[in-house]
Symmetry: C2
DNA sequence: CTGAAAGCGCTAACAG
DNA sequence: CTGTTAGCGCTTTCAG
């Protein structure tokens, strides 16, 4: 019974045929007990199982996938796994994939469109069951044409493009789209700020041409219109979704002399930079300036003060995208969904006095 | 040239044979231009390439993998992608895999040993080139036996077990191990605290039986011995690597009346909880209590005050593990490496006055 | 340089 | 219930 010491030579792995021979049955029978989905005499099955054990038989997934149309995998394509925003979506994707018995391939693109192309091509070769793409979408024609192409290309090999947090593609392009209510979240947050009496609210980190950004800004604007509060254009500051920009943008804002009592950061990461900049300049939050973020990543409760922000159902986005994409034939009508967002009020907008 | 509108029926994907027929050559020739690694007349190659384009030919990775021994994938097995600690290692793994032309499979186990077993089995079926496992290792025999088994089992199908941040397996078990200097980092940090004059340093979040934990505690102890500073056993507090424990453990400590001037948290996450608890009780950091963490995750610069911690080369761990595992035949001797750690001093231990 | 033929390991009709 | 017979799509000798 004792395991053999140190025998790490490269053995030929045993195959169905080897198992069949040892069990004294045919290869098909072995295949049948492997599949489990076919009647096999209990005695025979036992013999086969035993032979498998003895030979340490390992199924060859490639051989199985060949012949079938699917590879039992879903691909998750993202700029960078390192961002908490993406990491949580990744978890949802992985969990749903696992629940459906599929493996999850992780592909990063580092924002390089060229790499996205390569990745999609690679996934076609892999015959991935679904390809989930998440990350900012640019509102230009080139971009949409390319995504349209991906949708069709994947469909052609029986795979499926699934988009998270991006606007839908052209009509008729086969793809699954799961969005979250970007505009609504921004509207709710801005209303929260306005109803606390703020009249000069900075929107920090607009990224022209990025769908996520325009939607959030739309919400910001609509809330102002609702209450007939004019928006000073100088309050809307262009930038990027980064901590560094949050810091720098805030510093410049303070130096620039544009007055404001609240600051709505484009993302929580931006807000983290904002808080640091304010702290260094002795601006108190929320007493001097209220601060809000967007995304509700774990960081939001670790910064000081804890951050009021818009919650996005990260994991559910991932799970839903995978589920819809895999079961597209059963629910062809619900291939475009918009999940809800809601604000979470914490200390960065909660005023003690005044 | 206009793309055809909306034709999303399921076509039979074309095969090498289809391409061959259209190009007026044999399947082998097509295969040869696919491989690229064989002389083909320029004219022929052009014809073939053209036929591929016309037919939108897509290689079938499964068919290719069958026949060859490898699937061109490395698997990354982790408790939970969501933790920044793991996310950064994942990035290293993914990057190195991509650099070597391999795909990266993401598998999560949620700390369930049963799932690890299932995952490893699944990876054997996939014929993954390497299986990278990261996360705490338990110092018991059962655990080691199981990992030994995995190492051998993977080896048998031509794959490779790669461990990150875990102690090596039994002698002779084929596996790649990349550790980081846990003990050294803790030693350096504790020395830093001791040399600042602290004599009562809490170690918060010891997890009995977890290799990472014992190594860190060893470093803590060695630093004390070095300076002949006795360690009050009450200063070493058992717990878990979580934010929640950091908060709760600190609260109890403050209530318990055990005096201390510095607190070394087992991880940055724990430290985040510590800082919150201290702040709520009005204990000033670093003036009343200095706080240090371990891991140097991005969070460390977002908490207030910024956290002094031990840096771990996350990405390099991932990259190195993949590189070593894949090239094990070229460098059989260097299959166990220990990467360095170093402390990063920030505000949580930087005293202004006194 | 190119074609014909055989086979990777498994599954899926068809017959028994 | 079980064995036989064909492939799945690609690579790879082995001959031209």
């Amino acid at each position: 019974m004792g395991t053999n010491p140190v025998t790490s030579s490269r053995f030929e792995a045993s195959t169905v045929r080897d198992v069949a021979a040892r069990a004294g049955v045919s290869a098909s029978t072995v295949s049948r007990v492997l599949g489990g989905t076919y009647p096999v005499a209990e005695a025979t099955r036992a013999k086969v199982l035993r032979a498998m054990r003895d030979l340490d038989y390992v199924l060859n997934a490639n051989a199985r996938a060949l012949g079938s149309t699917t590879n039992k995998t879903v691909a998750f394509v993202v700029d960078d796994v390192t961002g908490p925003f993406y990491a949580h979506i990744a978890r949802g994707v992985e969990e749903q994939a696992a629940a459906e018995g599929l493996l999850c391939l992780l592909c990063t693109t580092h924002g390089d469109p060229q790499r996205v192309l390569a990745v999609v091509e690679r996934m076609r070769e892999q015959r991935a069951d679904a390809v989930v793409v998440v990350g900012g979408a640019w509102d230009d024609k080139d971009y949409r044409d390319r995504m349209d192409h991906f949708g069709r290309a994947l469909d052609k090999v029986g795979s499926r493009l699934a988009l998270i947090g991006r606007p839908p593609l052209s009509r008729g392009v086969p793809a699954t789209v799961v969005e979250y209510d970007n505009e609504g979240g921004a509207f709710a947050m801005t209303s929260h700020l306005l109803s606390a009496g703020h009249r000069r609210i900075v929107y920090l980190g607009r990224v022209p041409g990025l769908s996520t950004s325009s939607q959030r800004l739309d919400g910001y604007r609509r809330a102002h219109e609702m209450l007939d509060v004019p928006v000073d254009p100088r309050l809307i500051v262009d930038g990027t979704f980064s901590r560094a920009f949050g810091y720098q943008g805030t510093s410049e804002l303070l130096a620039g002399g544009v007055g404001f009592t609240a600051l709505f950061a484009a993302t929580d990461m931006v807000a983290a930079g904002v808080l640091q900049a304010l702290r260094e300049r002795g601006v108190r939050v929320p007493d001097d300036v209220a601060v809000a973020g967007y995304d509700d990543i774990p960081l939001a409760i670790d910064v000081y003060p804890t951050l009021t922000t818009v919650n996005i159902p990260h994991e559910e986005l991932g799970r839903t995208a995978v589920r819809l994409a895999l079961h597209r034939d059963e629910h062809p009508e619900s291939q475009h969904q918009v999940l809800g967002t809601h604000i979470v009020v914490r200390d960065s907008t909660r005023r003690s006095g005044r």
